[in-house]
């Protein structure tokens, strides 16, 4: 701080004194603006007033229409002055005031004069201002000058015209497109920035003409581009072309790859980064193509410049999601980044390491992270927690150290979002890894002993109520739960009462003790807590209860609300207290919008730092609830599997439909999620007609049409089929959407009374063997494998023919089987010639299936596979082999 002493004194005297804008006020400045009208202009003073006006606008002050017009008119007077400094400020304020089209006319002649001035600065700025404020008709008048300006020998003028062209292409494309000859000439300019702007404009003009674009790129990649910025553009255009061609050319070298690769040796770092990123984002990039890009990024990792380190680690983080093996070479460099001054870089490094790490390095990594966690902000911690959760799913054997880590950080200070991320992670781990359950539940119990967040406490109590009673020693949780009844607020107390009741109901041995505890709760100070306690006491007290009531109680305690909560709320609000009791059955069960889980998946997820892969939470619960709320399907029994949505329409058609296949023991339900994308239409009686002639084993049972489908609010139609029980029947279904379409008045939003019947052909839908397989993981594959009867093992060999890579073959087999890969065996080491994948799943009829698939590749890329299947039921093993030989 080598400030002169005098200044320091001033600062101390009065912090605000030195600001020339202290106490500035809009009214006064507008008064001052009258100097613009003086016959004897004082350029210095006028400049100052304009600066003040700009300051006000910049601070967020807004001018009324009248004020703005007044200022604008007086500003136009300043064109009389020959002072260049003032003129420069005049240009600036006109752009900021953005005058209306009726006012623009006053300055156009002055600006057009400046456009042809001898002073380059005038020409350049007059163009920028004019193009900012004029409309199409005026544009045609000045078009001639703009074309000249594009090829002006002064680069500033040329750039001004080109950038203005870029802006106007959005409003007046047909005019700008006529300039392509001039723009083409400017691409050859020696001035770096002119070349950049010209290239951007030329590409924009021709973007719809693929041939022209690829010709342009083809010429330029041969090395005529000087500016690094232009080179970056060229890389972006090139990768777009590669993307577009992707589907057409299969064999041999990827076109333009050589160009991208050569850019990795460019002297400008921004070009190197752009090229490296482009290569990592190529569709189906091979490890050979990736290697040079990873190498330059690795060099960046140890750069003294934070921006370079950030850029490199950010890119590697993305690569790690798809090609973890390719990034492992950089692990040592990234480990040193954990202690980076810049916390964004450190967090990215950690999450990347968590993705690429192998099973043996987990413990070492966790040690490093523990030191790091204490001094980063919550938002970074959340990213780390999410990365750890996915790591745990990947390496179930390591759950112990990961769970310990989570429980440690759970005890430390932190905000709500952070704590919730940790709790969510522990819950996920408990669900996915049965071995981790008891340990995890105890951690959660300890957490609620000292938890300041009501929401988290109630969530955990609910979770305890469901999972706790099934553990080896349920009684040990009671103390934690009952403590809540003493120490917490009413909401948590009420939740604790519910949880206690669940334990009492599920664990016969605990029932007397729970009853005692609940009896104490009926003296609680809060109504809700007392009510709940009384209610549960009477349920539990029903000792010699009939099976019927037992079932009811169970339904009451563990079942979910049949009707959506929103509907329940509306119904309760509409209910007027009277003699007649409120009838729960009267609540409409129709779900207004799509299930939450699906929305989440579709909505653009906030992808902050190193966005974690989507958490393995499925919409299964939501589907199950939805289906059981529909009376027609309620009798089908337990839902076995729901597929992910399959699109039945092309993107951007009038009606967008996707289907979810729900598999039951002896039924199949298709859930058609329909969206109407035409604002002027209302669809009614929307139904799907399914032709099952190519699916012989299925017979249509019932369908549930959608009554009304307004614009942009998704709805569901259902069709149910019967099939032989427990049999994995397959078949093909063709679908037609039928509906009555009504015109909607866009002004009033009201639909006309008369509609027209119409139909819409959807794409075919198939039930494949994988639909009967639920991908359930096992924590220890070897143990599980040993525990299965080797008698039932079936082994066979298959030739898979020539494939692009081993990884592709592995993925294809996993997809066909629809099974869960265990212990990270879905990733194939680059250049490996053999690989073993361990898969597990649950086949229809709840039969556990384990598969060991060994792959080998010979010199001609022919791939052979040895498939060993163990299942509880020999017939299922046979079925798995049948799937593979059929697929």
């Amino acid at each position: 701080m080598a400030q002169p002493l005098v200044k320091k004194d001033d600062d101390l005297d009065d912090e605000l004194e030195f600001s020339p804008f202290m106490g500035i006020e809009k009214g006064a400045v507008l008064q001052e603006a009258r100097v613009f009208n003086d016959p004897q202009l004082d350029p210095r003073r006028c400049s100052q007033v304009i600066t003040k006006l700009l300051y006000l606008l910049n601070q967020g002050e807004s001018f009324t229409k009248v004020e703005a017009t007044e200022v604008f008119f007086s500003v136009t007077k300043l064109f009389q002055s020959k002072d260049t400094g003032l003129r420069r400020m005049v240009y600036l304020i006109i752009k900021e005031l953005s005058p209306g089209s009726d006012e623009v006319i006053i300055v156009t002649s002055s600006l057009m004069k400046d456009m042809n001035s001898k002073i380059d600065m005038y020409r350049a700025n007059a163009i920028r201002v004019l193009c900012r404020i004029i409309d199409g008709t005026l544009l045609t008048q000045i078009e001639r000058y703009l074309k000249q300006a594009i090829v002006d020998k002064n680069p500033v003028v040329s750039s001004a015209a080109l950038v203005s062209g870029l802006h106007m292409l959005k409003t007046n494309p047909e005019i700008v497109k006529r300039w392509s000859n001039e723009v083409q000439e400017a691409v050859q300019s020696r001035a770096a920035l002119v070349q950049f702007h010209a290239l951007a404009l030329l590409h924009q003009i021709r973007q719809n003409d693929r041939l022209a674009v690829s010709k342009l790129v083809g010429t330029l990649t041969r090395g005529a581009v000087r500016s690094p910025l232009a080179q970056c553009l060229l890389i972006r255009y090139t990768s777009q072309i590669i993307r577009d061609m992707g589907n057409h050319s299969q064999s041999g070298e990827r076109p333009f790859y050589d160009f991208l690769e050569s850019c990795l040796r460019h002297k400008a770092e921004m070009v190197i980064l752009e090229a490296a990123r482009a290569i990592t984002e190529l569709d189906g990039v091979s490890s050979r193509e990736l290697t040079p890009a990873i190498t330059v990024l690795q060099l960046f990792l140890s750069s003294p410049k934070p921006v370079l380190r950030f850029a490199a680690v950010r890119t590697l983080n993305k690569v790690a999601m798809t090609h973890p093996m390719a990034v492992t070479n950089c692990n040592i460099d990234m480990e040193s980044l954990i202690s980076d001054q810049n916390r964004s870089i450190a967090t990215l490094a950690i999450t990347t390491l968590l993705k690429t790490g192998n099973e043996s390095s987990v413990e070492r990594l966790m040690k490093q992270i523990t030191n790091f966690m204490s001094d980063i902000a919550d938002e970074f911690k959340i990213v780390v927690v999410e990365a750890i959760r996915s790591l745990c799913v990947k390496f179930p054997l390591k759950y112990r150290s990961l769970m310990n880590f989570l429980s440690n950080i759970l005890r430390e200070e932190g905000g709500f979002e952070y704590k919730r991320a940790i709790v969510d992670s522990i819950v996920t781990i408990i669900r996915d890894i049965p071995d981790a359950k008891e340990n995890g539940l105890l951690h959660l119990c300890e957490f609620i002993e000292d938890c300041e967040f009501t929401y988290l406490s109630t969530q955990i109590l609910h979770f305890l109520g469901i999972e706790g009673p099934n553990t080896s020693d349920p009684s040990k949780y009671i103390r934690y739960i009952y403590n809540r009844v003493h120490l917490e607020n009413a909401t948590v107390r009420a939740a604790a009462v519910c949880t206690l009741a669940k334990f009492g109901f599920m664990v016969e041995a605990l029932k007397p003790r729970i009853t005692v505890l609940l009896k104490r709760c009926i003296y609680d100070s809060d109504d809700e807590v007392r009510d709940r306690a009384t209610l549960f006491l009477s349920i539990l007290g029903n000792d010699d209860g009939l099976v019927e009531t037992d079932k009811d109680s169970r339904e009451f305690l563990f079942g979910s609300l049949e009707a959506p909560l929103v509907n329940m709320e509306t119904s309760l609000k509409n209910y007027e207290p009277s003699e007649e009791a409120f009838d729960v059955d009267s609540v409409p069960k129709e779900v207004k919008s799509q299930p939450l889980a699906e929305k989440k998946a579709k909505g653009k997820k906030p992808t902050g730092l190193g966005a974690p892969p989507p958490a393995p939470v499925s919409g299964f619960d939501a589907y199950e609830r939805l289906l059981s709320s529909i009376p027609e399907f309620a009798t089908f029994g337990k839902l076995f599997k729901s597929s992910s949505p399959v699109e039945l329409t092309e993107a951007e058609t009038e009606y967008s439909v996707n289907v979810v296949k729900h598999i039951f023991e002896s039924h199949v339900v298709f859930q058609y999620n329909c969206t109407n994308t035409v604002p002027e239409q209302l669809l009614e009686r929307v139904n799907v007609i399914v032709d099952a002639s190519e699916a012989e084993e299925f017979s249509e049972l019932s369908s549930k049409p959608l009554n009304s489908l307004p614009y942009d609010s998704p709805g569901q139609a259902f069709v149910a089929f019967e099939k032989p029980e427990g049999v994995p029947a397959v078949g093909k279904f063709s679908n037609t959407l039928t509906f009555v379409v009504k015109e909607v008045d866009p002004n009033t939003g009201e639909a006309e009374d008369d509609g027209v019947e119409d139909e819409y052909q959807l794409e075919d839908l198939e039930i494949v063997p994988a639909d009967y397989m639920v991908n359930v993981g096992v924590s220890n594959f070897r143990n599980a494998w040993e525990n299965m009867d080797p008698e039932n093992e079936l082994e066979d060999e298959y030739g898979l023919g020539p494939r692009e890579s081993l990884a592709e073959a592995v993925k294809a087999v996993i997809d066909v089987l629809g099974m869960q890969s265990c212990e990270g065996t879905e990733t194939v080491a680059s250049n490996a010639r053999s690989h073993t994948s361990l898969l597990s799943g649950l086949y229809i009829g709840n039969v556990k299936v384990l598969v060991k698939a060994q792959f080998g590749m010979d010199n001609r890329k022919e791939i052979a596979m040895k498939l060993a299947v163990r299942a509880d039921d020999q017939s299922v093993s046979e079925a798995i082999h049948a799937i593979v030989s059929g697929g």
């Binding site: 600066t51 300051y55 910049n58 600036l92 500033v156 950049f196 921006v307």
Partner: protein, 177 residues
């Protein structure tokens, strides 16, 4: 589809996070309240870091922000999360060096406010509607440094009354202090 590099905003804040000058080129922050909230978030996220020797970088709300501090001034340039951060850094460096040239090396809040017109012109010469116009600090400073290249307003040609007005202004300011 547009592929040109885009700058979403340029911010110049003081050591308390107050706006000295800001220019937004995207619709992500439609109101002044939204802008101020963003500036506050950016400032509080970066204020503890040391960005005085090298350009630093961070991510916030799906944006990439590069920044550099000098004295009591904080410079920021924001771009989308897909943006090449080295391009943003070159914009920031251009801005930073140009301001340094224009303020003749005395880069602090007081000088910046005294020469706010130059700062505004500087912004205007670097980015036009989100598109990078120029990144070479010398060119930017030359274009924005209007007074030095002005052929018509040399000091000798200033009228007596203008000179007097300037002197009077300086006098009143020093008296008021």
């Amino acid at each position: 589809m547009e592929l040109s590099p885009k700058v979403k905003n340029i911010l110049l804040l003081d050591s308390e996070g107050k706006r000295i000058a800001a220019k937004y080129y995207s619709d992500d922050w439609p109101t002044n309240t939204a802008k101020e909230a963003y500036e506050k978030a950016v400032f509080s996220k970066t204020k503890k870091t040391n960005a005085r020797t090298e350009v630093e970088v961070t991510a916030l709300e799906n944006n990439i922000i590069v920044y550099k501090f000098v004295q009591d001034l904080h410079f920021f340039v924001t771009g989308g999360e897909e943006e090449n951060e080295l391009i943003l850094a070159s914009v920031l460096q251009g801005l930073f060096d140009a301001v340094n040239l224009l303020l003749r090396g005395n880069v602090d809040k007081r000088e910046a406010l005294d020469n706010l017109d130059l700062i505004f012109l500087c912004f205007d010469e670097i980015i036009d509607g989100g598109i990078v116009l120029e990144t070479d600090a010398n060119v930017i400073a030359e274009k924005a440094g209007i007074n030095s290249i002005d052929p018509n307003a040399l000091l000798s040609e200033q009228t007596i009354s203008q000179a007097l007005a300037t002197a009077r202004e300086h006098l009143t300011r020093s008296l008021l202090k």
